[in-house]
């Protein structure tokens, strides 16, 4: 199963911060819509201002007399436009209350105009009224351009350092802005530029000044705002530049002479200011979000690290709370903390304390049972001893004999029960010294050979001294247990193989015998207390309490070593091994 740590989980939780920029983006879009509305209103006001300046000054607008053919066409076109204007949505800003005109009237007005081209004065007025970044043009009713002033570029309202360099108007805004003359000043801006600029360039479209600002013919003729203005109403319109790199807002307003529209003033501005504002706002938003995210993630990571560390310490301590000698220690990690981990630590400690009490109880139970057994056994023995001093019939002697044998077995049982406990006790006293394990093993093997002459022992003992730290007496006792175990399982007439060799800075003592194999399964608890996997054998003269291998393990652990059992590779028998670290 996939393991997700506390840290990873908290970091995943941190991802919920991603909701913040979503909300922010919505807000920025709202702002953008509002700003666009305002820009439209402002531009229309500008158009109206210029138009007002030209109102009632038809002299300024003397135009050529129209060609008859052209006039017909114009009339048709204007009629179409008027109709279109009448059916228009009505959202266009109506700035006058002029009565509706017919095409004939319009053309009649035009006919009276001077054929001369646009006068310089108009140009002057238009230019003087023009704002920076806007372009103003004026057309008459026949869509002839009367005046043109201003340019659309270099008026986006962006911060100076983010605007394309100089007045060339052809800067490629796609270049990193760090190239700009006045580069980022603070380390934060530098980092931002270095880290985030590439991201923004992918995600956000920056408005560019590099757009085609030509005034196309169709913008003049087919612009709905122009036709509506010529019909007497102010109107605005958004259109894309011919190269599609920017959007241009144009506002048109009619110029009146008396009750007649004589011309239309059109003011144009690029949408770059707002687009730039929006993109700037989004950049800031993303930057801020990222910064917050990094900060929060960092804090979370620190917090999670600390939390995980505490939990880990607690776990490690809990795992080692019961040491090799079976002693139970209280936990110290987080035991004074006032939070849940502290609670956990304390309840663990409580649990361990109870475990220790239970452990003590079990330990003392052995002692108590031994003690409690001894008294009745003493009663029986002393009674039998007294009886033996009496003159008894021969028949009674047999019973006495059997009773004594039974008593001996009982004694044996009691002293075995006490043995593991006594070894635990002496392990606790912990008297240890460095000794050559070979001396002990060699001595023991000699002893076994003389005690059990019918059994063949095949010993392979390392030639060099093997110093281990522990208790030679206890080791001899453990070795006794291994040999007793091997002898009780060995097939009659088979050889018990004993080997003692240094392997990887450990003295490895192995006792192998031919005989039944160990059962499979990882839950082999042979070396635990009171575990015996012997087949029940009612005829066994020796009681088996499953303490022998437990003693082996205890002694091995006392030597900081380990005990293990395995089947021989050829399945001819089993090998019990004890590994004890060598003293350097």
């Amino acid at each position: 199963m996939l393991r997700i740590g506390l840290k990873a989980k908290l970091l995943l939780v941190t991802l919920s911060l991603a909701a913040i920029p979503l909300v922010g983006i919505g807000y920025v879009r709202e702002m953008e819509a509002l700003l666009i509305e305002q820009q439209e209103a402002n531009l229309l006001a500008a158009a109206r201002a210029i138009a007002t300046a030209l109102n009632e000054r038809p002299a300024l607008l003397k135009l050529k007399p129209p060609d008859p053919v052209l006039r017909r066409e114009k009339e048709d076109a204007i009629n179409t436009m008027l109709n279109a204007g009448a059916t228009a949505t009505g959202e266009a800003q109506v700035s006058n209350d002029a009565p509706p005109q017919t095409a004939a009237q319009i053309i009649a007005t035009e006919a009276s105009a001077d054929p001369r081209a646009v006068s310089d004065e108009v140009e002057n007025i238009v230019a003087s009224l023009n704002r920076r970044g806007t372009r103003v043009w004026m057309i008459d009713k026949r869509f002839a351009l009367l005046a043109l002033a201003g340019t659309l570029k270099s008026a986006t309202g962006r911060r100076p350092e983010t605007i394309g360099a100089g007045g060339s108007g052809r800067t490629d805004a796609r270049k990193p802005l760090a190239d700009n003359a006045s580069g980022p000043s603070t380390w934060w801006e530098k980092t931002e530029d270095w880290l985030l600029r590439p991201l923004y360039q992918r995600l956000l479209t920056r408005p560019t000044e590099d757009f085609d600002d030509a005034l196309p013919e169709d913008a003049i003729v087919s612009g709905s705002e122009v036709t509506r203005a010529l019909a007497g109403n102010g109107a605005t319109r958004w259109r894309a530049t011919p190269d599609n790199r920017a959007r241009i807002l144009s506002a048109a307003h009619p110029v009146w002479a008396g009750n007649e529209v004589v011309a239309a003033v059109v003011v144009e501005e690029s949408g770059n200011a707002i687009a730039s504002f929006t993109s700037r706002a989004l950049e800031k938003l993303i930057t801020a979000t990222l910064a917050v995210f990094v900060l929060v993630a960092g804090v979370m990571l620190l917090f999670a690290t600390r939390l995980a560390g505490r939990v880990r310490r607690l776990r490690d301590e809990a795992e080692s709370a019961i040491d090799a000698q079976g002693r139970v220690r209280a936990l110290t990690a987080g035991s004074t903390a006032s939070d849940e981990i502290g609670d956990l630590s304390r309840s663990f400690s409580q649990l361990l304390e109870r475990l220790a009490q239970y452990h003590d109880y079990l330990e003392n139970l052995g002692a108590r049972i031994t003690h409690e057994f001894r008294t009745p056994v003493t009663v029986v023995r002393s009674s039998l001893d007294n009886l033996a001093m009496q003159p008894l019939p021969d028949e009674a002697r047999d019973y006495m004999q059997r009773a004594n044998e039974g008593l001996k077995r009982l004694d044996n049982l009691i002293s075995r029960m006490g043995e593991a406990r006594r070894i635990e006790q002496s392990l606790r006293d912990g008297e240890r010294s460095s000794y050559d394990i070979r001396t002990v093993i060699n001595g023991c093997i000699e002893g076994y050979r003389s005690a059990a002459p019918q059994q063949v022992f095949d010993a392979h003992i390392a030639p060099d001294a093997l110093l281990v730290s522990g208790s030679p007496d206890l080791l001899a006792q453990a070795f006794d247990k291994l040999i007793a175990n091997a002898m009780s399982f060995a097939l009659p007439g088979s050889v018990i193989v004993i080997s003692l060799q240094p392997i990887d800075a450990e003295a490895v003592l192995e006792v192998g015998n031919d005989g039944p194999l160990l059962p499979d399964g990882p839950a082999l608890r042979l070396f635990d207390s009171m575990v015996s996997i012997r087949a029940d054998d009612a005829s066994a003269t020796e009681p088996h309490l499953g303490l022998g291998l437990y003693v082996v393990r205890l002694v091995a652990q006392f030597h900081h070593g380990s005990a293990a059992a395995r089947n021989r590779a050829d399945e001819s028998g089993v090998v019990f091994s004890v590994r004890l670290p060598l003293v350097v």
Partner: protein, 231 residues
Amino acid sequence: MAKRIALIEDDAAIRANYADAIKKHGYEIAAYASRPEASNAFKLRLPELAIIDIGLGSEPDGGFTLCRELRAQSATLPIIFLTARDSDFDVVSGLRLGADDYLTKDISLPHLMARIAALFRRADLANEPKSQEEILDRGPLRLDLKRFLATWNEREVDLTLTEFWMVHSMAKFPGHVKNRDQLMGEAKIVVDDGTITSHIKRMRKKFIAVDDAFDSIDTVYGMGYRWRAAS
């Protein structure tokens, strides 16, 4: 006059059995079931030997208390602890209080009687002039087999009867390995291997207390112990 032995034991059956056996061996017996009972009796008259159980009824350490009282009344009175407990801690506590021997209850009555006789002999001879001596000399070790006294370099080693018999068993034939069964047989006790080990440990300590360089008790792992002939 028959020697008077005090037996303090809370279990009635054991008390009766021991009392019978002791009586049969010609001693006078005074059996008590509790510490106050025995204490009161001892104020009137001291026995010549006391056999004390450690746990006495409601007093788990009543035997220790009684031993301390008795020892205060008489420095020479032989005291034997007889108990079901066999932890090293109890053994050490009992012996430190001045008991002459410490036995577990699995000892047989004949063995107990042998011990009683030996302790009486030691007590009797301690007051007599050294007439007919039975001495075992092994270099710096000298064992007085009648008084059960052990000396090392002429300094007395305070051995219990059990320990004395074990040392004697080994020192009789220096260099010969005595296995545990042989040691137990000669010391007239039946204990398990672990207890023999702690007996040996205690004996070594006692000798080392009078001579730092003592190393005559040799462990032969898997076989037993031997007395190393003095070099």
